[in-house]
């Protein structure tokens, strides 16, 4: 699972997708593509973006939900918390007894 997270984060396009989802949750594929093109000049095909989203979803960083006839994507930061805490040292005691 953690390896999937590292793999997902290794790609700059996928990091941009997360950036945009942090700005607003609940985006359609169309909105994500529009943001990547107009804000970041990333003119990838919708299919390519869809594949990037699948990688993010497999790593648990993005959740997609169907709501009626629409499909929305939300960011999920839980897997990041596990990474952050992994190498954090417990606080050193201020003075040895």
């Amino acid at each position: 699972m953690a390896e999937d997270v590292f793999k997902a984060l290794a790609d700059p396009t996928r990091r941009r997708i997360l950036d945009e989802l942090v700005e607003r949750d609940g985006q359609t594929l169309f909105e994500i593509c529009t943001r990547l093109v107009t804000k970041h000049g990333l003119g990838l095909s919708r299919q390519a973006i869809s594949q990037h989203l699948a990688v993010l979803e497999a790593a648990g960083l993005v959740r997609s939900r169907r709501q009626g006839r629409y499909k929305f994507h939300d960011v999920n930061t839980e897997p990041l918390e596990r990474i952050v805490t992994r190498w954090l040292r417990p606080d050193e005691p201020e003075s040895a007894p």
């Binding site: 607003r24 985006q27 359609t28 594929l29 169309f30 909105e31 529009t34 943001r35 107009t38 804000k39 919708r46 869809s50 169907r66 006839r69 629409y70 499909k71 929305f72």
Partner: protein
């Protein structure tokens, strides 16, 4: 050459006519009986002789899967120009219109995407 007519496939022509006129604010231009269906077009009141929008019936078997796939991914079937996307978003939401994309500013362009209740998503846009 100019664009004379563009079309959207609608699930129900009468329902579509009400939405495109009463809610969006277009006016009916042509309404000609064609067997079970109608040749039904609307135009902008600001340009009565401008491009017509044909509210075309969705009966062909290829249409439903096409529309379903577009809507799932949030892709609009048409884009209409408005003076102020945020103002229009507020007005339409008051009327109960469902948006799949709230107003989004992208440099000089602002867009939003709404559900026309007849199986399509419609983009509204303005540029500074």
């Amino acid at each position: 050459m100019r664009i004379h007519l563009s079309s959207v496939f609608v699930d129900d022509q009468e329902k579509a006519l009400r939405f495109y006129t009463d809610v969006l604010g277009f006016v009916k231009k042509h309404d000609v009986p064609m067997g079970e269906d109608r040749w039904l077009t609307v135009v902008s009141p600001e340009e009565p002789d401008g491009t017509e929008l044909l509210l075309e019936p969705s009966g062909h078997p290829a249409v439903e899967p096409y529309k379903t796939a577009l809507v799932q991914d949030g892709i609009p079937a048409a884009s209409f120009a408005v003076d102020d996307v945020r103002a229009e978003f507020g007005r339409l939401r008051e009327l109960g219109v469902r948006f799949t994309q709230e107003p989004l500013e992208m440099g000089p362009i602002t867009t939003a995407v709404l559900d026309d209740t007849c199986g399509n998503l419609i983009q509204i846009a303005h540029s500074k």
